[in-house]
């Protein structure tokens, strides 16, 4: 297989939390605690998990908005931690992001053409005319008319704004786009348009996606591979199809049980799991999922399981399959 676009190894991010009088006490929130994955060219990796499990922190680390506590992120074979100057610019050009809420991610005071031109002005030395052409080009790529360029974001609906955000992310010949819940804020019919558009763009441009979401059906639809995160760790990861056909980790199974049926006759065998994601400040001992796990054994509260190969492909971290 070709070299991965992005390879993450042993990635950790711990945030200090001060407490007690005068902030003398200090504990750590282990937001991301030893995560490994790779994204190949033209591939979509789905990162799924509930709020507070470290999905967004992972994306911030990739976007260099946070520095990792430990571990490495390699982009096309080079560690991004040491990048400086033009190399850093090249990285920022190649890796872009689309956020959940297109109403707050686009400046209301900028015209669409300026929003999309901004990364081009920073990263390229194209002439104004060339930038104008490129803006029209990417607008067409995402299914908008080039003549909307002089309008302001408030003149667009949610789905159109999300297209503008995608156009901005594509403007600089991007290799990888981090999609942080890009369709959660959209209506059903518009959601389908954006998902189809993203899949189409990937086929024609070969761009890779890191798709972060919490809706299993959407993530499974768009992703080639899926990694399931729970409290800062990946608990299971496999090809999208094999994971859907045979989820193994009890947390993955719980996510499937909680997924909504697509027809009233889809009977759900399992009752959903109890409880909520515990605070990342007080992580459970052993396996982090054991307090909520329906099949927890004594060993689960003592020893933390490591990722082991699944018999049908992929990896899972659970004592049930030790």
């Amino acid at each position: 297989m070709a070299e991965p676009v992005l390879e993450v190894r042993g990635l950790k991010k711990h945030f200090p939390v001060r407490h007690g009088l005068l902030g003398r006490g200090r504990t750590w929130v282990k937001a991301v605690d030893g995560v490994d994955f790779a994204i190949h060219p033209g591939e979509t990796l789905g990162l799924i998990g509930e709020s507070g499990c470290g999905k967004t922190t992972t994306s911030k680390l990739i976007l260099l908005q946070e520095t990792p506590t430990a571990g490495s992120i390699a982009f096309e074979g080079r560690d991004i931690a040491g990048l400086e100057g033009t190399e850093l610019m090249a990285y920022r050009r190649a890796v872009q992001v689309v956020f959940q809420d297109p109403f707050s991610s686009l400046s209301p005071r900028m015209r669409v053409e300026d929003i999309i031109a901004e990364p081009l002005e920073i990263h390229t030395d194209l002439s104004r005319a060339a930038i104008g052409n490129r803006v029209g080009e990417v607008l067409e790529l995402v299914g908008l008319q080039p003549d909307v360029a002089p309008l302001f974001p408030h003149e667009f609906s949610g789905g159109q704004r999300q297209r503008i955000a995608i156009a901005r992310a594509l403007a600089t010949n991007t290799r990888l786009i981090v999609l942080d819940e890009p369709v959660s804020a959209l209506d059903v019919s518009v959601r389908a348009q954006i998902i189809n558009q993203l899949e189409h763009l990937q086929r024609s441009l070969g761009v890779s996606y890191l798709f972060i979401g919490h809706d299993l059906a959407t993530v499974a639809h768009i992703s080639h591979r899926i990694a399931v995160m729970y409290l800062g760790k990946i608990v299971e990861s496999a090809d999208s199809d094999t994971l859907c056909a045979r989820p193994m980790h009890p947390y993955t199974k719980a996510l499937f049980a909680a997924a909504l049926p697509s027809h009233p006759d889809d009977q759900q065998q399992e009752r959903t799991i109890a409880g909520e994601v515990p605070s990342a400040l007080r992580l459970p001992s052993g396996c982090r999922f054991h307090p909520r796990c329906p099949s927890a054994m004594p060993v689960c509260s003592e020893v933390e399981p490591t990722l082991q190969p699944r018999d049908v492909g992929g990896v899972v971290a659970c004592h049930l399959y030790g």
Partner: protein, 350 residues
């Protein structure tokens, strides 16, 4: 345990008929001194019986929330009900004064809104907020009030309610806050609960727990539920009946199985095709364009500019309700004459 007031079960009326019957409801927004009219709810009809759940489905701006606010009489000042009736347990709510409605809201009809943090007051304890309906509507005081609140919190699965009720909303997780809002809704022993996208802000596993809880409560109390949502998965899981709204109109309504198995209106079909299904990688059906502006609706059927099956008649003439044999009602020229039930044709009143 007699707590000096009605228990969790709604005060069931001896009347057999439906709990709620909305017929030809029309709510318009007036602006610029009445020169501009937006028909936010346009001739909406549906019925709901005891223990039933109706899913009110549609995209943002389709009039779902305005329909609900019309039922409970909480419309903003610019909006007015201009036609139709809302008959709740035999009484027409559109003819009631705000004073009379206040005696119904919170007791016989309750609402659960999307954002629990916005529906709870951060400055008051959980006890004070859950106790309010029982205090005003059932005149409970002192010990019986405390016991009632604990009973309600236990019913929504809040652990150790005797401690939790002294805490404030910020000390609760999102799922717990939404369950507390549920406890407040149940406090008056309502026979109708309107839930407006109650799980949108919750995580998937918490959402599943909450939906299971609502189902359990409904089984115990026989309360009728209106579930406003844009998520068809929630409809499949929760609802007995569905009503699909588009641009202020109910374009299709009927039993949930018929709607999923044999959707009649092209918009319903498109909505169902637009939802990703687990384990399927087929391209999603996407409806071209976006919902129309209610202030400037297209002529004829409002969906025709986006409809893949539109015929010339759709552009010029607005379809009425067509009652079909399997219990569904669709507003589309395409179903005209297709095993239509009885003499109901064209623009019928139901």
């Amino acid at each position: 345990m007699n707590m000096g007031g009605p228990d969790m079960a709604p005060q069931r009326s001896a009347r057999p008929g439906p709990v709620l019957e909305v017929s030809d409801l029309q709510t318009h927004f007036f602006s610029f001194g009445g020169t501009r009219v937006v028909k936010a709810v346009d001739r909406v009809s549906f019925t709901l019986h005891e223990g039933e759940t109706l899913g009110l489905v549609g995209e943002s701006g389709s009039g779902k929330t305005t329909t609900c606010l019309s039922i409970v009489g909480l419309l903003p000042r610019a909006a007015r009900i201009v036609g139709g009736s809302v008959v709740f347990e035999g009484e027409d709510l559109t003819r009631k004064s705000q004073r009379e409605l206040r005696r119904i809201r919170g007791r016989r009809i309750a609402m659960i809104l999307q954002d629990p943090m916005a529906s709870l007051n951060p400055l008051f304890t959980i006890f004070r907020q859950v106790a309010e309906p029982a205090f005003f509507h059932q005149q409970l005081r002192g010990r019986s009030l405390r016991e009632r609140v604990q009973h309600l919190l236990r019913a929504v699965r809040i652990p150790s309610p005797e401690w939790r009720m002294r805490e404030y909303p910020h000390q609760m997780s999102g799922g717990m806050r939404q369950r507390i809002v549920g406890a407040i809704a149940l406090a008056g022993g309502p026979s109708l609960v309107i839930a407006d996208e109650p799980t949108t802000n919750l995580d998937v596993t918490i959402q599943a727990q909450y939906l299971d809880l609502l189902k359990d409560i409904q089984r115990e109390t026989g309360v009728a539920l209106i579930f406003v949502t844009h998520n068809l998965g929630i409809v499949a899981k929760m609802c007995d009946k569905v009503a699909v709204m588009y641009a202020g109109k109910l374009i299709e309504r009927g039993p949930v199985r018929e709607l999923f198995d044999d959707p009649k209106h092209p918009y319903t079909r498109a909505l169902l095709g637009a939802v990703p299904k687990l384990g399927s990688k087929e391209p999603l059906y996407s409806i071209p364009g976006q919902p129309p502006n209610l202030a400037n609706l297209p002529a004829g059927c409002s969906f025709h500019p986006r409809c893949p099956e539109a015929v010339p008649r759709c552009v010029s003439e607005e379809p009425g309700d067509f009652h079909l044999g399997d219990g569904t009602v669709a507003r589309c020229w395409l179903v005209e004459g297709k095993n239509e039930a009885g003499a109901h044709r064209g623009r019928t009143r139901s």
